[in-house]
């Protein structure tokens, strides 16, 4: 099986590759359109800033490549945000796969004593509804690091609470996206990656 990780100017791409290697898969890390199109599965990871990432992708026409993919695609963290319509981070138009906007956690919306931003750490995922979460228990802990979030909507397949309930995972057709870092979420994260590989 050929797994492609999209290479762009975002961090933690190697971490995702290492996580796949731990489950016995050697991915290719590439920004070549043909390599990406011919892969069985595509992973779109990333830690970084939305507007500079979008700029990089569009300069290389990778934005068009991503939205035209028909095999299963998994966005992780920044990947999720780039797959939405619009991001408040740098006020940038994104790929528009999910018909939702990306907003910043608000200090005032917060829990008692105020929300700390970014959200850093382990939080639960619930209301799981996708083969991506096969054999994953409700309220499993996943590792999150983010300041921006996607509201609940028709594409939501997992919910997390940080001040408010938001989409911690989304799915539409062949596109899947998770706000948490599967590659850093211990054994549960590994199981979700395995589920994606088996889709």
């Amino acid at each position: 099986m050929k797994i492609a990780i999209i290479k762009y100017n975002a961090g933690n791409i190697r971490s995702v590759a290492f996580a796949l290697e731990r489950i016995g898969i050697t991915p290719i890390i590439t920004d070549d359109a043909d390599e990406i199109r011919s892969a069985d599965k595509v992973i779109f990871p990333g830690v970084g800033e939305a507007s500079s990432a979008m700029k990089y992708l569009s300069e290389r026409k990778l934005d068009e490549v991503i939205i035209s993919l028909t095999q299963p695609v998994l966005g992780i963290c920044l990947g999720v945000q780039l797959m939405c319509n619009f991001s408040e981070e740098g006020n940038i138009k994104c790929l528009g796969i999910f018909n939702q906007d990306v907003k910043k956690f608000s200090q005032t919306e917060g829990v008692k004593g105020g929300l700390k931003i970014p959200q850093i750490g382990w939080n639960t995922i619930s209301d799981l509804k996708s083969p991506l979460f096969k054999n994953i228990k409700e309220n499993s802990y996943m590792y999150f690091v983010h300041s921006y979030f996607v509201e609940l909507g028709e594409n939501t397949i997992a919910t997390t609470n940080y001040g408010i309930n938001y989409s911690s995972a989304l799915n539409k057709d062949n596109f899947y996206a998770v706000q948490f870092h599967t590659e850093k979420s211990s054994d549960v994260g590994q199981n979700i990656l395995e589920n994606f590989i088996k889709l």
Binding site: S15, Q107, W122, D187
Partner: protein
């Protein structure tokens, strides 16, 4: 709900784990990768590696070690010690580190925090502050605690966050190595003064110390080294204990 985090810290010298008391008397504590795997299995939420050699010739050894760690563990980790440029950070993040921590270099050149946040995002920039209570207030210390400054810890923490630090790692030199408990007052003060997570460090000796720093100290995470290294406190037992105290924790 977001949990409180338990973070074992590994001090690294020449690629080995070492442990000192009050920043001194360093002794060998094993292979970092082996220890890291073990901690991840036991339920550590995150790891911190502080390179205390951190000379230029050791840089390459460190980035190789970071890659070995990243290959083997499936939880996040931070790398710190002697980081002084955007280039240093780029190397470590590319090697597989999730976050980096800066300390003395950031104090001497605060713009570094801003540059790192702009380039890599605040989420991977941890500002480490060594602090000591002296003459009625908490002051910032540099160079592994050897150099005193006249800057108050609270002021530096606020400035660091304003510049783009995404997290504060606060080590109390008065408490470090004593096993008498974390520094509750300054941790609480910093946690209330900034809107980013605060990791408390220095002084862990009992499980109650952890519950105290999470409740009274308002810490978001607690870091410890020797109590974990020398198996005085097991992470699974600690987490069970914290759960009974109604502290949100990942089990």
């Amino acid at each position: 709900m977001l949990t409180k985090r338990i973070i074992p810290c590994l001090d690294i010298k020449d690629g080995r784990t070492v442990k000192g008391v009050n920043f001194e008397n360093i002794r060998d504590a094993g292979d970092p990768v082996e220890l890291a795997i073990n901690y991840a299995k036991q339920g550590a939420d995150e790891l911190v590696f502080l390179d205390i050699t951190a000379t230029n010739e050791k840089r390459k050894t460190l980035s190789e070690l970071v890659t070995r760690i990243a290959k083997h563990i499936n939880i996040p980790f931070t790398v710190g010690g002697g980081i002084s440029s955007v280039e240093d950070v780029s190397v470590l993040l590319n090697a597989g580190a999730d976050k980096i921590s800066v300390n003395t270099s950031a104090f001497k050149n605060p713009q570094l925090i801003n540059d790192l946040a702009n380039q890599f995002g605040s989420q991977c920039v941890v500002l480490a502050i060594d602090t000591k209570f002296e003459g009625g207030d908490w002051f910032v210390y540099l160079n592994g605690g050897r150099v005193k400054t006249e800057t108050k810890t609270i002021d530096w923490a606020k400035q660091g966050v304003a510049l783009g630090a995404g997290e504060i790692l606060l080590t109390s030199m008065n408490n470090d190595g004593t096993k008498d408990g974390f520094a509750i007052d300054i941790t609480k003060a910093v946690s209330e003064a900034v809107n980013v997570p605060v990791i408390a460090s220095g002084g862990a000796g009992t499980m109650e110390h952890f519950s105290d720093i999470f409740t009274s100290g308002k810490a978001d995470a607690a870091l410890a080294a020797s109590v974990f290294h020398y198996k005085e406190i097991g992470i699974p037992e600690l987490k069970k204990f914290l759960k009974t105290k109604n502290i949100e924790i990942r089990i």
